[in-house]
Symmetry: C2
Subunit: 200 residues, 2 copies
C-alpha cells in the first residue's frame, strides 16, 4: 500500500503528561480522539518506547495539553526529541499541577484535560488507552495546532547543505549513509525508517 | 467540565462506507486515527445510530474516503444528514467499487483505504472498531479537510432571521421552542443537546 495514504489523516498535537513516584514526565503525541459522547470517552495511542507510556500503563492517569498554533519548535524538541529517562523535560517550563497530581505546561496550550484509563490494548509498537475524562480547563483558547500546521509552519526548513543520506521527515535528524536499515529508528523522535527520506 | 474543551480536539472528515446484501451505504465520521505503526492499525469510532455502524458490526469490512478541502456542503448533507435506512446515499455519486466490494466516492477525496475489523468495543453512544488496513490509493491528493475547516468554510452561515429556539452547531437544524430537552437528538445529524446553541 502507498504509505502516503496514512499521512493524509488529520491530527492535532498534544503534550501528554504523567507522574509517578515524584517524577514528572511528558511527551508529544498526535492521537487524541473523543470516541464516544455518552458517556464521554477518549482514546490516546502512545508509542511503547516513550517513558510516559510506561508511567501511564502503571498509574492509569494522564493529562493532555492541546497545543495551539503559537507553540514554538523548542517545545517539540523538549517534549518530543529527548527521553524523560535521561532528562527532566519540565525543568524551566511554566506549569500547573492539576488535581490528579500531574503537571501541564501552561504556555502555548489551548486547553487541557485529565484522563483516567479504563482499558489498555497492546498493539505492537503502540498501546491504545481508553479513558474517562476527569476535568479540564480552557487556557489560551487559541486555534489548535494541527500536525500539518507543524510541518508547514513550526518545523525549521531543512538547510541546504552537503550532508548526504536519509533525513527524518518528523524531526529533521540526518542519518549519514548510503543505505538506511529497514528497522532503523530515529534516535531523536523514535520514528521508523518509513518516515525517512533520501537526501542527496 | 467545560464542554468546549473537547471541541478543541482536531479531526479530519471522512466518508465511511460499507456494503451488505447488495446494499451500499455510507456516513460522515471525523474519528479515524492510525493507532499503531508496526503493525499498522487504525481505529474508527462510529455512532450506533448510523446504519453504516450496524453494517460494519455485521460484516467487519469498511472503506474510509479522506475528504479534501474541495468537498461541498451537499456532500455532507448527502452522507451525514439523512439515514441510509431511508435513502440510497450513493445514488448519482461517482464511485469506485474497491476489492472488498464496498463503494467509495471519487470526487473531493484525497485518498481512501479499506479496513478489516479486528476488534470492536461498545462505548455507549458509539462503537470503537480496531482495524487492519487492506489497501488503498491516493486520489486527488489535495489538502485534507479538517473539522475546523468545515465549520469555517464549508457549512453555510446561519441566516439572520426570526426563528427562535436552539440551533444545532453541527448541521444548522433549528429546534423551535423555549427549552431544549436534555436528551434531544438532532433529527438531521443525530448530534445531542450539548451541540445545540440558543438563538434569539
Amino acid at each position: 500500500m502507498d504509505s502516503r495514504i496514512m499521512h493524509q489523516l488529520t491530527y492535532g498535537l498534544f503534550v501528554l503528561s504523567a507522574a509517578e513516584n515524584g517524577k514528572d514526565n511528558g511527551c508529544i503525541i498526535n492521537t487524541v480522539t473523543q470516541v464516544s459522547a455518552a458517556p464521554a470517552h477518549v482514546t490516546i495511542s502512545v508509542c511503547k518506547q516513550n517513558y510516559t507510556h510506561d508511567m501511564i500503563a502503571r498509574t492509569g492517569r494522564f493529562n493532555v495539553a492541546i497545543l495551539d498554533i503559537t507553540a514554538p519548535f523548542d517545545l517539540f524538541q523538549r517534549f518530543g526529541f529527548q527521553s524523560g529517562r535521561d532528562a527532566d523535560k519540565f525543568a524551566g517550563v511554566e506549569t500547573i499541577r492539576t488535581a490528579n497530581g500531574i503537571l501541564i505546561p501552561t504556555e502555548h496550550v489551548n486547553a487541557w484535560f485529565s484522563g483516567k484509563v479504563l482499558q489498555a490494548w497492546e498493539l505492537g509498537s503502540h498501546s491504545l488507552f481508553l479513558a474517562d475524562i476527569e476535568g479540564g480547563e480552557i487556557m489560551s483558547g487559541k486555534e489548535p495546532a494541527t500536525y500539518a500546521f507543524y510541518h508547514k509552519n513550526i518545523k525549521p526548513r531543512p538547510q541546504a547543505g552537503k550532508r548526504k543520506g536519509w533525513r527524518c521527515k518528523i524531526c529533521g535528524y540526518v542519518y549519514e549513509g548510503e543505505e538506511l536499515p529497514p528497522d532503523y529508528v530515529c534516535p531523536l523522535c523514535k520514528h521508523g525508517a518509513s518516515d525517512f527520506e533520501r537526501i542527496e
